[in-house]
Symmetry: C4
Subunit: 236 residues, 4 copies
C-alpha cells in the first residue's frame, strides 16, 4: 500500500501512537463493559429494604457473570495484542486498517455481551448467544489476520526472525476462543446447562493445552536464530 515517506527515526514514535491508540480503545471498551451495570433506581423500582435490594442484585448476578467473562475476554485480547506488538518494529497502512477492523470487532463486544446479559434468562432464545458467538468469531478471525499479516517474513515488520512453529502457535491460540464458543453454541441446543460451562475450558486450554506447542516453538526459534547467525557469518 502507500508507504509513508517519514524519516526512519520517527518509526518508533509512530508505532507507539499506533499501540497507545489501540490501548485507549481497549481501555474504554473494558471500562464501559462494567459501567453498563446500572445502579437500580430506588423510587422507580421501589427498593426500600435490604431484602428487596438483595433480590434485585442476585437477579442481576447472571448478568454480572456475563460481564465478568467479557471483561476477561477483552483483557485476553488486549494481552494478545500486547504480545503480538512486542515483536513489531515497523508498520504499514494495511496493518493500520486490519488493526482498525480488529478494534471494531472489540468495540462491538460490550453490545453483544449486553445483549446476552439482557436475554440470558430466556432459555428459549438462541439469537442473543448466536450474536455473541458471531462477534467472538469475528474478533478471533481479525486477531488471526493481524498475526498472520505482521508475522509474514517478507513484510519485515518484526524485531527478529521467528520460527514457523511460533507463527502457528499464535494462530492456534487466537482460534481457541471462537472454536470453544462455536462448540458451546452447538451444545446449547441439546444440553443448555452443560453449554454454559464449556467456556470454562478457554483458560484451561490457553494455559495448559498449549504447553507442548510452546516448547516446540521455543526449540524451533533457537534453530532459526542459529541458522540466521550461520548465514550472517558465512555472508561476512
Amino acid at each position: 500500500m502507500h508507504h509513508p515517506r517519514h524519516k526512519t527515526s520517527q518509526t518508533q514514535f509512530q508505532l507507539e501512537r499506533f499501540t497507545f491508540f489501540t490501548d485507549g480503545v481497549f481501555a474504554i471498551c473494558i471500562t464501559l463493559l462494567v459501567i453498563e451495570i446500572k445502579v437500580p433506581n430506588r423510587d422507580e423500582l421501589g427498593i426500600f429494604t435490604d431484602a428487596s435490594l438483595w433480590k434485585y442484585l442476585s437477579h442481576a448476578s447472571l448478568k454480572f457473570l456475563g460481564f465478568l467473562i467479557s471483561f476477561g475476554i477483552i483483557g485476553h485480547y488486549w494481552s494478545v495484542h500486547h504480545r503480538i506488538f512486542g515483536y513489531a518494529v515497523n508498520y504499514t497502512y494495511g496493518l493500520i486498517w486490519i488493526n482498525l477492523a480488529f478494534l471494531f470487532s472489540v468495540v462491538l463486544l460490550p453490545f453483544s455481551s449486553g445483549l446476552l446479559g439482557e436475554y440470558n434468562s430466556d432459555t428459549n432464545m438462541f439469537l442473543p448467544y448466536g450474536v455473541y458467538v458471531a462477534n467472538m468469531c469475528f474478533t478471533g478471525t481479525m486477531n488471526c489476520w493481524l498475526w498472520l499479516y505482521i508475522s509474514k517474513p517478507e513484510r519485515n515488520l518484526l524485531t527478529h526472525r521467528i520460527s514457523h512453529a511460533r507463527i502457528q502457535l499464535g494462530l492456534y491460540r487466537s482460534m481457541v476462543i471462537p472454536v470453544i464458543f462455536i462448540v458451546a453454541l452447538g451444545f446449547s441446543f441439546f444440553l443448555p446447562v452443560v453449554s454454559r460451562f464449556i467456556p470454562v475450558l478457554i483458560p484451561v486450554i490457553l494455559h495448559w493445552g498449549m504447553k507442548g506447542l510452546e516448547k516446540k516453538a521455543d526449540r524451533k526459534d533457537a534453530n532459526v536464530i542459529e541458522t540466521h547467525h550461520h548465514e550472517t557469518s558465512s555472508d561476512g
Copy 2:
C-alpha cells in the same frame, strides 16, 4: 503566537503528550460511536422470541451500517493525523488550537452520525444528511488547515523538507471525503438510492485514485533531498 520558553530537550516529550491527547480523544470518539447502539430492553419492547429480536436487529441494521461508515471515517482521520504528525518535530500554540478545532469537529461526528442513523428511514427528510455532510466538510477543512499549517516550510515544524507535490497530495487527500459527501448530498435530492452508494467511492479514490499523484510526490521528494544535499555541500 506565544512561544514557550521550554528547554529544547523537552520538545519530543511535549509533542508526545500532544499526539497522545489527540489519540485519547479519537479512541473515545470511535468507541462511543458504537456504544450508541443500545441493547434493546426486553420488557419495554416486549421482545421474548428470537423472531421479534431478529426483527428488531434487522430494523436496526441500517443504523448499524451508518455506524460502520462513521467508524471507518474516524479511523481514516486518525490514520491521516498519524501520518501528518509522523513528519512533525516541533509544535506551536497555534497548532495546538488548530488541532483542538480539528478534534472538536471529530467529536461532533458521533452526534451527526447518530442523527443520520435515527432519521435514516425518513426518505423525505434532507436535514439529517445535510448536518452529517456539513460535519464532514468541517472535519475535512480542519484537516486541510492542520496539514497546510504544519507543512509550511517557514514554520520549520517538520523532520525534513518535503516537496510541494507532497503537500498538494495531502491537500487533495483531505478533500476527498468532503467532496464525495457533497456530491452524494446533491444526488440525494434526485436519486436517493444512488446517493446512498456514492460514499463507496471514498476508499476507491483514496486507494487507487491517488497513485499517480503519489508517484509524482515521491519523485519530487527525491529531488528536494538531492537539492538540499547540494545546497548543504556547497555551503560547507
Copy 3:
C-alpha cells in the same frame, strides 16, 4: 511528603505516566462534553419533517454554544497543563494530589456546563450560572496552585531556573478566566445580555493583553540564565 525511593532513571517514565493519565482524563472530559448533546428521539418528540427537526436544533443551538465554550475552556486548561509540565523534570506526592484536585475540578466542568445549558433560557435563574462560575474559579485556583507549587525554586522540579516575572505571568494567566467569569456574573444581575458577551474577552486578554508581561518575562529569563552562568563559572 513521602519521597519515593525509586531509581532516578525511572523519573522520566514516572513523569510520563503522570502526564498521560492527566491527558486521558482531559481527553475523556472534552469528549463527553459534546457527547452530552443527545440525538433527538424521533418517535418521542414527534419529529417527522425537516422543519420540526430544524426547530429542535435551533432551539438547542444556545446549548450547543455553551458546549463550544466549555470545549474551548477545557482545551485551554489542557494547553496550560501541557505548558506547565513542559518545564517539569521531577514530581512529588504532593504534586500528584494537587494535580488530582485540579483534575477533579476539570471533571466537574461537563456537569456545570450541562446545568448552564439546561437552564440557559430561564433568564430569571442565577444559580446555574453561579455554579458554572464557581467551578471556573475552582479550576482557576487549582491551576494557580499547581503552577506555584511546581515553579517554587526550592522544590527543584523544573528543567532550569525561571525568572520571578515568568512565574507571575503564569499566575496572571491562570486568573484571567475566573476573574472574567466573576465580572460576567456580576453584570448578569443588571445587564444580562451584555453579560453573555463578556467571556469573549478571555481569548482577547490571553492573546494580546499579556504581550507586555511576556516580553518582560523573556527579558528577565535571559538575565536569570546569564546570572546562573556567571555563578557557575565563578564557582568553577
Copy 4:
C-alpha cells in the same frame, strides 16, 4: 507462566503499554464517576426557580460527597499503582492477569459508589454500604497481591533490590483502606453517625501513621544497597 520470546530491547516499550493501558482504565473510571452526577431535567422535575434548583442540589450534596470520596480513593489507588511500577523493569503474563483483576475491582468502584449514593439516605439499609466495603476489600486485596507478586526478589521484576521492611510497608499501606472501611461498617450498626466520619482517618493514617515504618524502610534499604555492594565487590 508462558514467557514471551520478545527481544529484551522491547521490554521497556511493552511495560509502557502495560502502564498506559492501566492509566487509561483509571482515567476513564475516575471521570465516569463524576459524570454519573446527572444534570436535573428542568421539565421533568419542574425546576423553574433558583430555590427549587438549590433544594435539588443540596439534596444531591450527600451523593456528591460520596463521589468526592470515591474520586479520592481511585486517585489514591492510581498513585499507589504509579508508585509500585516506579520499581518495575520487567513483567510476566501472570502480572498482566493480576493487574487485570485489580483493574476489574477498580472498574466496579463507580457502581458500588453509585449504589451507596442512591441509597445513602436510607439509614435502615446496610447492604449498599456492605457492597461498597466488599469492593474496597477486593481492590485492597488485589493491590496487596500486585505488590507481593512484583516485589518478590526471585521474580527479578524490580530495578533494584529493596528491603523486606519496604515490602511490608507497601503491604500495610494497601491494607489501610479496607481495614478502615470494615471498622466503619461495624460501627454503622451501632453508631451510624460516627461511622460516617471514620473514613476521614484514611488520609491521616496514610500520611502520618506510616512515618515510623517509612523511616525504618529507608534505613533497611540503605543496608540492602550496602550489602549488595559488598557482595558485588567481593565477587569481583
